[in-house]
């Protein structure tokens, strides 16, 4: 090929490459980057999971801040709680700030009073017969002369049957925070001082992390402005997790990218002692990252920060291609490399692709993104190596660097490593024993994926325990095509739940239908209100001889008459009355217009544990489409499903690798020789983790798959060396050096990730760093004798 021809091809190759890069950059520039928790939620939820995810993503909890004020005296804390709540209410960022103050509830109280004949569950036709009236009045009278009586007495002439009291009674929460000095406070905790508690519900949706960040800052600034000495503030809740995770991911991604690049550059400088070689070897990596991000953006419409964090591992893999080429091409130029080296690199690429392809079929958007990113990235990097590198640097890297030393060390190691076969096999047996003995090897906790720090989770748990309300772990869920259908189902479910409350199986439950009965129920109640004459007659009868003469009850007759003509209570009305946060906690509208009503269940008295779900399920079986959702159990189930899915995928991925190797080598013997060190590496890696008491999760599994995918490159290399045994010892040493170098980049880049404080990344990093190193060492140790002690100097 003439020099001119080469130049022309180089020009075309560079042009094509530039076009690809430009297209990728253009795509990336209009890509939204996210860093929320969505990556850990399932992509195809079933009906129960859907409710759960709706709650996590957009429900009230997603925009509710838990605020604690610690230190000082109860009075000082209460004072600070009131002052802070006042500021936040005035600030406008929050829809509602609750701190246990009952001031300001009058509006809600008078709303309930005004609509008592639409809202009271006692209203039916029987209620307004003489017997019904007598019974209702009797119940009211039974409270007079007690502390509760004062409030009832004030309205007895308008509400002698106590409908307001009935509504109030139905709304009493069965579990509620302790009240101290007029505000919410923690219960006694041994060894810890008291704290005042607030709930601040932001207006902005939970997914708007910038707005949530602002809301959190408003709380902190509001507290700082109080200059409350001796008091400290703590803020928790889903918005804090979201904001913290994002900040953490952003920070880590930046740090990992910088550290990874620096480390690679240093390593490459040591290896090549040549800046041009360094620059050229980073090009496949850069290309791969660009292609990977652009591909994720195209497929998913956005890129998660975690995916970028993972990008640094891609650096470790993609840089290998450059290293292989630059070193191996020295011996016989690009043309020879394309014949001898490239097929091995290509096979290694295909096995890696096999491994990452398994991720694409995962149920987690986060892992799917990693899969697509890695696939596209590796293919991009390999394509660059194959297409452009030979033209850019036809003779490989010029510099020698410390590679000779590396090669010598590697050669010595390769000669010595086979001695380790017996100890390794013994260790492998020990690992099998350890793994078999370790019953709970796989942990099924979704939280193991979450980047939220343990101390933040602990704080959150303690605040939720203190608040004791609003965080029911078990919910009954009904949904309907429209609001009315949903409310009717909620009423039907409530009827069943009432029997459970009476039987003491659950402590109580909340339902939106107490505030907003279905139109059907309201109409029935309205229809039950008798005409004035009939009511007057019944009342005369009922009050005769009692302590409350009918003559005093004219206001009651007037109110009932008014209620007969009243318009029904509507959702809009309730929102106007300031009840939005309450409604949003119990009622959701989906994007498709359908509605979901949540009925949180409280455990029965004396049972701190979750309610008896079997009984609840049985009771709700009578209600069409009603479901029981146990949040903790549901999350565990969700994760267990993904874990078992991932296990299947990992096995398939590993099988794919083996099949590829078999197809390439076409020899059972060689395939077994390649698989042996890989299997041992996986075994020893798992054994190491088990010995360190690490519970294995989905991401460890993913890591093991990558060990197989990446490690197969090393095993194949030794297989190739064996079959080209006649190669000069010098070349062997340099090739060995390229292998060691490639392995070092992988181990170091995954090692970096292993140090990440994001559990998901750390898990993958730990496994691959250990596994990849083992794969190289064991590939050398179990290589067949052809690669005996080469010219080690």
């Amino acid at each position: 090929m003439s020099a001119q021809g080469v130049n022309r091809r180089l020009a075309w190759a560079l042009l094509l490459w530039a076009a690809v890069v430009a297209a990728c950059v253009a795509q990336i520039l209009r890509t939204p980057f996210t860093a929320d928790l969505s990556a850990f939620l399932p992509a195809n939820p079933d009906a129960q999971q859907r409710v759960l995810i709706e709650q996590l993503e957009s429900g009230l909890p997603a925009r509710t801040l838990l605020v604690a004020i610690d230190g000082g005296t109860p009075a000082a804390r209460a004072e600070a709680s009131r002052a802070l709540a006042g500021r936040l209410r005035a600030g406008g960022l929050f829809e509602q700030v609750q701190n246990g103050q009952t001031e300001g509830f009058e509006k809600v109280g008078s709303f309930l009073f005004d609509h008592r004949y639409a809202l009271s569950p006692a209203v039916d036709a029987q209620r307004f017969t003489a017997a019904g009236l007598r019974d209702g009045m009797g119940e009211t009278l039974s409270l007079l002369g007690t502390p509760a009586g004062a409030a009832l007495k004030a309205i007895i002439e308008r509400d002698p049957t106590g409908e307001t009291a009935r509504i109030a009674e139905s709304l009493i929460p069965s579990s509620a925070p302790r009240s101290e000095e007029g505000v919410w406070a923690s219960r006694d905790r041994s060894g810890v001082g008291g704290r005042a508690l607030l709930l601040a519900i932001a207006r902005a949706p939970g997914a708007d992390l910038d707005a949530q960040l602002k809301a959190i800052a408003a709380v902190r600034e509001g507290f700082a402005a109080l200059k409350a000495e001796g008091l400290t503030l703590q803020v928790s809740g889903a918005p804090v997790f979201g904001v913290e995770s994002r900040a953490q991911i952003e920070q880590e991604v930046e740090w990992l990218a910088k550290a990874g690049t620096l480390l690679m550059a240093a390593l490459l400088l040591v290896a090549f002692a040549s800046l041009p070689a360094l620059a050229v070897s980073l090009l496949p990596v850069a290309t791969g990252v660009l292609v990977g991000v652009a591909a994720v953006s195209l497929v998913f419409g956005g890129v998660h920060g975690m995916t970028l964090g993972f990008g640094t591992t891609l650096i470790g893999e993609a840089v290998d291609y450059a290293i292989y080429y630059l070193i191996q091409a020295r011996a016989g130029g690009a043309a020879l490399w394309l014949r001898t080296g490239w097929p091995t690199v290509r096979l290694g690429l295909l096995t890696s692709v096999c491994g990452f392809a398994a991720l694409v079929f995962s149920g987690f958007p986060g892992l799917q993104q990693l899969g697509v990113f890695s696939l596209a990235g590796l293919l991009g990097a390999a394509a660059f190596t194959r297409g452009v590198m030979p033209l850019l640097m036809p003779d490989g890297a010029r510099g020698q660097g410390l590679r000779r030393l590396l090669a010598q060390a590697a050669a010595a190691a390769v000669a010595w490593l086979p001695k380790l076969r017996v100890p390794v096999l013994i260790l492998a047996v020990a690992a099998v024993a350890l793994l078999l003995q370790r019953g709970q090897l796989w942990s099924a906790e979704l939280s193991s994926l979450s980047p939220v720090r343990k101390d933040l989770l602990d704080l959150d748990a303690s605040l939720r325990a203190d608040l004791s309300a609003g965080d029911a772990r078990t919910l009954a869920v009904v949904s309907g095509a429209d609001l009315e259908a949903t409310l009717r189902k909620a009423e039907a479910a409530a009827q069943q739940l009432d029997t459970l409350v009476d039987r003491g199986l659950i402590g109580g439950y909340d339902t939106v239908a107490r505030w907003l009965p279905s139109q059907q129920t309201q109409a029935a109640r309205r229809a039950a209100l008798p005409a004035p004459d009939a009511l007057r007659a019944a009342l005369q009868d009922a009050a005769a001889g009692g302590p409350l003469p009918a003559a005093r009850l004219a206001p009651f007759l007037a109110d009932v008459e008014e209620a007969r003509a009243a318009k029904p209570v509507t959702l809009a009305q309730l929102r106007q009355a300031g009840l939005s946060p309450l409604l949003d906690a119990l009622l959701l509208q989906r994007k498709d217009g359908s509605w979901v009503a949540l009925l949180p269940l409280q455990p029965a008295p004396g049972k701190a544990q979750a309610p008896d779900t079997a009984a609840v399920r049985q009771a709700l079986a009578l209600v069409d489409g009603a479901q029981v959702l146990e949040i903790g159990a549901e999350l565990t189930r969700l994760y267990a499903r993904y874990l078992s899915e991932a296990q299947t995928q990992a096995v398939l991925g590993a099988l794919g690798v083996v099949v590829l190797v078999a197809l390439a080598l076409r020899s059972t013997c060689r395939v077994l020789a390649v698989c042996e060190p890989l299997a041992l590496s996986v075994l020893l890696t798992m054994g190491t983790l088990a010995a360190l008491n690490v519970q294995l999760g989905i991401l460890h599994l993913v890591g093991l798959l990558l060990v197989v995918a990446v490690g197969s490159n090393y095993a194949l290399f030794f297989d190739m060396l064996r079959h080209q045994g006649q190669t000069a010892a010098e070349v062997d040493a340099d090739t060995l050096a390229s292998l060691v170098l490639a392995n070092l980049t992988t181990v170091l880049s995954f090692g970096l990730i292993a140090g990440s404080s994001i559990p998901a990344l750390a898990a993958i990093g730990t496994v691959v760093a250990i596994g990849a190193l083992l794969a190289l060492l064991l590939s050398a140790a179990f290589a067949r004798p052809r690669v005996g002690p080469p010219g080690a100097g």
Partner: protein, 200 residues
Amino acid sequence: MKTRLVEALLAACLLSAGSSAWALNLAEVTALLAKNKSGEARFTEERFVSNIDGPLRAAGTLSFEAPDRFTRTTTEPRGEAMEVQGNTLVLKRGGRTRQMTVDAIPELSALIEAVRGTLTGNAVLLDKFFKTQVDGNAARWTLTLVPRDARLATQVRELKITGLQSEMRSVELWLAGGDRSVMAIEPLQPLQALPARPAK
């Protein structure tokens, strides 16, 4: 005002459950009362309410089990029950059951502790929520409780509990508005675990 009503409602039910006893000074009365580990009693109650032709009458049974459990079951004029255990209150009226948290409502809390403090002879608890005064002697004593909490004081003026030895025999409750209730207590056979003896 209606939310108050919720609280008041609870407080009320509660209150009517009171029963306890006293002697020469708080320590001695509580020592007497502390002998009771459990007990059952009948009660009759009369409530005097302004503007209502009265008195309003009720009757039923009380039972108590140390350290923190007691119930008041009303049989006349209508069946009702109130059970307190630890921090949980369960109300049963008109075939309905409602559970609630005691310490979420400070007034309710104070009244419950008045009852529990008296029943178990817990002077510290009583003193935390009330200004106390003891009159009479071990044979017949009166314990007067005046709420310390300002919010409770707007509803309850004072509680007057009388007793014979370690037996609580009546509870009189004066509400802030002038209404009042008097509960007479008649112990059933095994009122206390230990026989009542005169204080030293």
